[in-house]
Symmetry: C2
């Protein structure tokens, strides 16, 4: 058996028993990167010797946590003290910020090992495209903006990886690459040391190949206080299937995939009901767009003032507020989103999770696009936790993910439900 | 005339006419620091030679903006690429982050000059106290947590300075030191590169000795698009005086100061009316506290995991959630605050600003406390812009500030109103 096929949770258990070293496990991913990344191009930076040295250091130490010795990939908008952080921007070519982002520092303090930096859309926002290909079919995009992190985990080039989401940048790559991805509740993982885009939306995202691996990360960030991930019985679940106001933007095969998912859950014994959101939710996507653009005005001002010629015009459009959003629109967007949060959480009160599409369909052909965030925008705006569950496919056989959603701060409950649901779509609960 | 008595706006005009160099203006503040800071201890780091070299560089260049050549102080929780950033934490002793925070990068790109780093409460949150004294009476605290920035501007050791506010950390030092201070609308200045505390509240704060100086900073951060600050006539103003639900926590002389302020405005021709907030606002302070603590759980997790022995117990209490706040409380706090925003902005609809106290009274005696954030918490939670106006005093003759408040994203309007109001309390509109 190849070591890179081991999930982080399984590797962690073996390491705890002294049956696996961090060095061997980490080397397996470095070997896999050497073999596969010339095609997939998930990584923008890997230092094999340094990474192996860090792994050996971990092997010599007492275990600090279940993540001790586990390697992870880091989206290249997240600062790392000993690797460049380049944001896919010519302004930051070779840039070394000299300190870890909060989300990296936490994992390192727990003994995890940085495996490399992964490609991203410029500043995770617009402009320059990543070079990453979809491991399921390299002619297709892996989705964005956390393209490299999603593709790395999907292709066995990392067991775990960090991304970000301001629109749909964590969930979409998970959907397109067919892996588990989680956008936690807004604000529960610090965004410090990550390139900001919109303070109202920016969230650190998590990737793994099963819910147990997401659980390891959730524990690290204290999104859960339970010792173990205990999945409820599927038969005990009440799931609300929600087509959302953007349903018409999904392809036929994606629509069919959601209905298939609902039918499979129902067949497995879950009580599945349709949830139709009231008309008040129709403006959420537009409101998310306003919050995103307004955030960009402040976020990219230094680059706009200091290095305009190296900054894509997309960013000038944000800083200059070319869309012309005004004060009253911002208040309306913020207050609309806030009101929907309350309304949504009342509507889903009795359900264990809401089930909806993660993306409008399969990964589009080509690398000129990363697909659309349509099916994530409203959830990101509301700040609720979301998990992409893989296992379903579209008409060409590429993955089409569905996502589970819970109320804010119910990340632990969402992971439990996701574990049960995931086992319905894939027999071992593993990303295919 | 001493150059350090010149406001930034006046100095900027002289520099534009070629009548003042950045070097001379900057040197005046460095001289003042050399003279006064051994007593006041506003600064944690100053490099006279480097700063003068930067000023001379600016003098050799074409002017980039009205802030070109103007020096400013930076609270030491804000990253600076060429100065240490130590957060008043032993963990960060001598720490150099290697890149500027967004808010510093913007001012530098516009030609402004970093004068030094200013003292702060540990991580602007809790724990270790700053050493800074109040220039109005060195036996008293200047307030916190932006203690050094507030004191530096009050004592002529900087024309402008940056602070932060999560509770009342910008407005309180402005009140206690008797200067102009502004907490802009939440999210309009990026918090990237500043030590995070609570993502729901963290805001960059601005200090100056008049509204014209605040205007210079507001223009830099694009909080206003107008060319000039045009103050309306006081006689055209409708001001709502609000005692707030925490009125009973103010001292008698502070209460009297607010009433005196209202009377002065009325006498100057403004229409002044009382605004009584409904009972629903009584929970805002407690809700702000919940949002602050929850933010701290994520913000200080890396230090807690990696350097517990050098971290004050106050931070362990936050990370460990010793207050025991749970998911439902967080949602209630967020949704309560969001509902009050809407309610407040409806209530103040017809008014040009709400006038209230900035602090419960004069600066307390001693350096063991920085006073209370009581009168700022609710406004910070609602994300509305606030400006402290100096000119009034309490029973021992120390400053007692009043603050003006507007709706979110109306920072420009607030500055205009503040300019008019300020001229009522001090004849030249200058901090006394």
């Amino acid at each position: 058996m190849e070591l890179w096929t081991l999930t982080a949770a399984r590797a962690s258990a073996l390491m705890a028993e002294g049956k696996l070293s961090s060095e061997d496990y980490t080397r397996a991913f470095l070997d896999r990167i050497a073999e596969r990344d010339p095609l997939i191009r998930a990584y923008t930076w890997v230092d094999r010797q340094a990474t192996l040295a860090w792994a050996r250091e971990r092997d010599r130490e007492p275990r600090r946590s279940p993540l001790h010795g586990i390697p992870f990939g880091v989206k290249d908008v997240i600062n790392t003290r000993d690797a460049p952080t380049q944001h896919n921007s010519p302004i930051y070519e070779g840039h070394r910020p000299g300190e870890d982002a909060n989300c990296v520092a936490v994992l390192r303090a727990l003994g995890a090992v940085v495996l490399g930096k992964t490609d991203t859309l410029e500043f995770a926002a617009a402009g320059r495209k990543p070079l990453t290909r979809n491991p399921r079919n390299p002619a297709h995009t892996p989705g964005g903006s956390s393209s490299g992190s999603g593709a790395a985990v999907a292709d066995g080039m990392a067991p775990l990886a960090l991304g970000t989401q301001t629109g749909g940048s964590t969930i979409r790559p998970a959907s397109f690459c067919g892996i588990h991805g989680m956008k936690p509740t807004y604000g529960r993982i610090s965004f410090e040391g990550v390139k900001h885009y919109s303070v109202h939306l920016d969230t650190v995202g998590l990737y793994g190949r099963c819910t147990d691996d997401l659980w390891l990360l959730a524990q690290a960030y204290r999104l859960t206080e339970a010792e173990r991930l205990c999945a409820p019985s599927v038969a005990d679940l009440r799931i609300a299937v929600c087509e959302t106001p953007v349903w018409s933007e999904a392809t036929d095969d994606a629509q069919a995939a959601l209905h298939r998912a609902a039918a499979m859950l129902s067949q497995a014994g879950a009580r599945v009901q349709a949830l139709v959101l009231p008309e008040s939710f129709n403006t959420l996507v537009a409101q998310q767009n306003i919050l995103m653009h307004e955030g960009g005005r402040a976020a990219f001002l230094p680059e706009y003032l200091g290095a305009r010629s190296k900054l894509h015009d997309d960013f000038a459009a944000k800083v200059e507020n070319q869309m012309g959003f005004h004060a009253a629109q911002m208040r309306e967007a913020l207050d609309g989103v806030a009101a929907r949060r309350v309304e949504f959480e009342q509507l889903m009160g009795g359900f264990d999770a809401v089930l909806t599409l993660s993306s409008p369909g399969e990964a589009p052909l080509g690398l000129h696009t990363q697909g659309q965030a349509t099916f994530s925008r409203m959830w990101t705006a509301m700040g609720v936790p979301c998990i992409n569950i893989p296992g379903l496919t579209g008409k060409t056989g590429l993955p089409v993910g569905v996502q589970l959603i819970q109320r804010r701060y119910e990340d632990e409950r969402l992971l439990q439900v996701a574990a049960a649901v995931s086992s319905v779509f894939t027999p071992d609960g593993l990303s295919p």
